[in-house]
Each structure stands twice: as C-alpha cells, then as structure tokens.
Amino acid sequence: MHMPAYYEFCCKVNIVAGPDALSQIPSLLAAKGVFRPMILTDKGVAGAGLTDIVTQAIGDTLTIPAVEDDIPPDSDVRVVNRLAGVYREKGCNAIIAVGGGSVLDTAKGVNILVSENADDLMAFTGAGALKRPLRPLIAVPTTAGTGSEVTLVAVIADHDNSRKMLFSSDFLLPDAAIIDPRMTATLPPHITSATAMDAMAHAVEAYTMLAKNPLSDAHAVEAITLIRDHLLPVIADPGNTRGRLALACAATMAGIAFSNAMVAMVHALGHSVGSICHVPHGTCMAILLPYGLEYNLHKVEDRIAHLLLPLAGPDVFARTPEKDRASAAIEWIRAFNRKLNQATDKKHPTCLKDIIGQDGSPRVLRSDLPRIARTALGDGAVFYNPEDLDYQDLLMVAEAAWEGIPLDLSKIKKG
C-alpha cells in the first residue's frame, strides 16, 4: 500500500446503483423535502428515449415542472443563465441531470445560480467561492465514462468572452448519482469501448500519478477490474444488463479515483487532441494511455507493475517475472485496444492517425501535433505527472501516438 505523508479523500455523493436504480429518485428527493425537480438533458439523450425512461421510472410521486433538452455539447454560460431562469419561473426546487459531462456541468452551473440567488456565474469561479450546500442535484449519467457525476468541478464556456470558467467546490458534488444500466443499454459498441477506456484512463492515471492515496487506489483497482471483466463481453452482447451496470459502476469508481488523485499527461494531451481535432475524449484516452505510462515508466515502474494484476488477472501476473510486469501492463493495454478495435469493426482506433471523421477523412493530421503539444502545456493536469513535461516531450509523445509506435524510452529526459 502506498501511504503518502498526507492525503485528502472526499466523495460525498450518494451512489445508488442497480437494475432499477432510477425508481429511487423520488425517495431520495423526498428525504430532502423536495418534490419539483427540473430535468436537464440534451437532444441526443432525449432522442434516444432515455429521458422518457427516467420520467416513467419516477412515476407520479413527483411533479416535473420542466424538461429542458437544449444543452449543447460544450456547456455554455448563456444556456446556464436561461435555464436558471426557467428553474425560478417554474418553481422548481431540485435538478435531475440526465446525460454526460456537458449536461452535468450545465446542471452544476444552474444549481450555483439558483442556490445563491445570483445572476453572474463569474462571481463563483475558482475554488472556495461557494460556502454552503446548494439545492438538491441528482446526476443520472448516460455514458459509462466521464465520471462527472462524482466530480467537484464544472467547466462552463463563456463564448462571448472566449474564456472557460472553472468552478471547484465540494458543494458542487451531486447529492446522488443514479447508476442504472438502462441509461447505457443502447450505446453502440465503439462508444461503449471509448467511454470505458476513458474510465480506464481515469483509474490508471489516478493509480500511477503523483496524488495517489490508499482510498483512490482502491477505487481505481475496482474500476480497472470491472472494465477488464465486462467490456469485451458487453461489446459482444450489448443487451448484457449485468455487464452494462458493471461498466457504469466502473466509470463512477474511476471518477471518484481521479477526482481525488487527479489525472496527468494522458489527459493533458487528450484534452488537447479533443479540442483541436474534435476527437471524442474516450478515443484519445484509449490511444494515449500506454504512452503516458511509457513516458513515466522510469519514475513509477513499481506502480505500473502492480497494475498488471487488476489489468491482466492473477494468472498472467504470476507468470510474469517481477522485472517485466510494468512493461507487460503497458503491452496489455495496447493489446486490449487491439481487441477492442477488432470487436468494434475497427471503429476503436489504436493510434491518432487512424481516427477517421464521419466524412471519412483523418481527424488528426501530423501538422496538428505541434499545436497539440503547445496546448497541452497549458493544461493543469501536467503538474500531476511524475516526470516533467516540456514542449519537446509532449511533441515526442504525440508523434509516437500518431504513428502508433511505442515511445523510444532512451529519448525521455529523466529528472
């Protein structure tokens, strides 16, 4: 067990999970004395019929004064302001957020405004601006990936002023996260694989990077084991409810792990690739994960070696000599990506150059890599990386990930 000299751990979210977890929503809200929740979602989730499943599961015990589905993929402050107005106008007293990261972030932003009785979200940016509990917020994630249902941050874009507002507070944590397999039952195989590998990257980075602690490690290992056991079976059989629930729980566990132990260079580069080349986040994570581990191998070899057990299982662990376990763990992730590539009819790419857009053209060009590296330098996640990172280092990793070749470990500058 790795015991740092000091650590903090917090997850105040009530995790409710099971085949019919949605039906617990009325009692959870009743325990807080609220009966008029506003439902926030996006067009994709509503179009897939998931909002209807939520409202049916809730039944008649609650009044739902508003169902708003006009939330863009990138949370926007104008949308937050409008929705806060709807909340007040309709006399709502809670929020149920059904969706992925941007729906959750939007819901958190709305909750700030309605709880603080404010109009200007900017006043609450940063850490420590919120000093008291907010109105009840229930998160219903519809992907098994981001873990936003258990994070204490929200990022909301102010496009008018070309800036992103970051909010961070324990009070932003939802009161409850409802993990119901019906919410991910219709995810296509390649999205299932990408979102699960997002969760995998959260868990692996949380386990190997600077801010790890015993509790985040335990959450990370649970997540990794669940993904290892259930991802390929669910891709083979998308109606596997037990597997869907397991993957959704894994995403939440990984979210708890990284919310407490943070993420590092895989996310810094991944955010960069995502924002510049418009690549889905999970796809970036799956490709970049082995590279992040290779880059940090000389610093955290023992941690990566420990991960071989939850990743590959006890038999592989026992058969692998101790000195080879770290590189075996990295190779296992690469091999897993290749299996996912096969299982999704090649829709799960294994390198950046193989990411193809809907128009059939490559999304990430070699000429994008310098800008990707420069942008990654401005991502706070780099500071949780065990080894230092400069522009040249990030470019080297991006180039290897683009080509799909392992990093040349001799070229890594070691601190």
Binding site: Y6, D379, G380, F383, Y384, P386
Partner: protein
C-alpha cells in the same frame, strides 16, 4: 460553563519573517529573470499586459505579488495583494504549508499533489507561473536544494548557469 475558554491563537512570527524574506527574494528574482532569461520572458509574453499573479498563504499571507505593468514590463509589486487586481492567486492552505514549501521539505509538485495548494484563475497562466517559479528556483538555489524543489533539474548551458545566474542574482538584489 466554568471551564469554557475562548482563544484567539497568535501569530507564527518566525515563520512569517522567514517567509517574508524568501518571498521578497523570489518576487525580485522573477522580475530579474524576466529581464535576463529568454524562457521566463517567453512565459510572460503569453500573459496580457497588466496581468498579475500572487503566491502566498491563507488567510492573510505573507504574499508575493508579481505582474506586468501597462508597458509589458515585469515587476515585483510587493507584499500586499489588496493593492492590485490579482488575476491569478496561488495560495497554500496554511502558513505552515508555505513554510514547508520554502524550507524544501515538500516540492511544489508534491505540495500540489497533497492538496496543500489552491489555484484560482486561468489554468494556462497558472501553468506558466509555475514554470517561471521553477526556473527562478534553479537560479536562486544551489543544485542539491533546487532538485528538491522541482521535478527535473534542467540541462542548461554553462553561460546560463554562470553568467545569467550572476545577472539574475545581481538584479534581484539591486535591480529595478
């Protein structure tokens, strides 16, 4: 209730004095390095004119404030963050935490990883500020101590390690 007492705990004078001196050195060294070192100048060039950042301890310091004036010149702006609009605030959660940092028992990345540091402001600028602090620590500190403070000791040219270091130290003490 007879045995009930109310106390207002005092101040940590030794730590405060030590930190005031160290933060003065660091602030002045940032100003100096911005004039001497290209890498520091480059980090500052990405910040808009008038941008300021502070480093200090919750709740009331001590602090160091550094920023660019309206002409783009980097200046050490003193100890009082209330005198300037601070765009980026880097704060250790206690004076004890800042003292641990400045006695090199925890490096900046480790203090950050242990949740002792709170950053409020633009994240890319925060990354730039931390890089500036890293470079300045290499200038100010002997190598064995600098290695405790940062993740990777840089491979600099002889000129940078000697001549530029001398210029930074001189400007720290006497420069404007």
């Amino acid at each position: 209730m007879d045995s009930f007492t109310e106390v207002k705990p005092g101040r940590r004078w030794f730590q405060k004095i030590y930190l005031v001196i160290m933060l003065w050195f660091v602030g002045r060294a940032i100003q100096a390095a911005a004039r001497v070192d290209k890498a520091v100048a480059k980090q500052f060039s990405a910040m808009p004119d008038g941008y300021t950042f502070s480093l200090g301890a919750y709740p009331r310091g001590p602090h160091m404030v550094v920023g660019k004036d309206d002409t783009g010149r980097v200046r050490y702006l003193g100890r009082n963050p209330d005198k300037h609009p601070v765009h980026l605030q880097m704060m250790l959660k206690s004076m004890g935490g800042l003292f641990t940092l400045f006695t090199f028992r925890e490096s900046t990345p480790v203090a950050n990883a242990r949740s002792r540091l709170v950053v409020t402001g633009d994240v890319p600028q925060a990354c730039a500020a931390v890089r500036i602090l890293d470079i300045v620590q290499v200038y100010l500190l002997p190598k064995p101590i600098a290695k405790l403070a940062i993740k990777r000791y840089p491979r600099w040219s002889v000129k940078r390690h000697t001549l530029d270091r001398a210029r930074v130290l001189f400007r720290t003490l006497f420069g404007r």
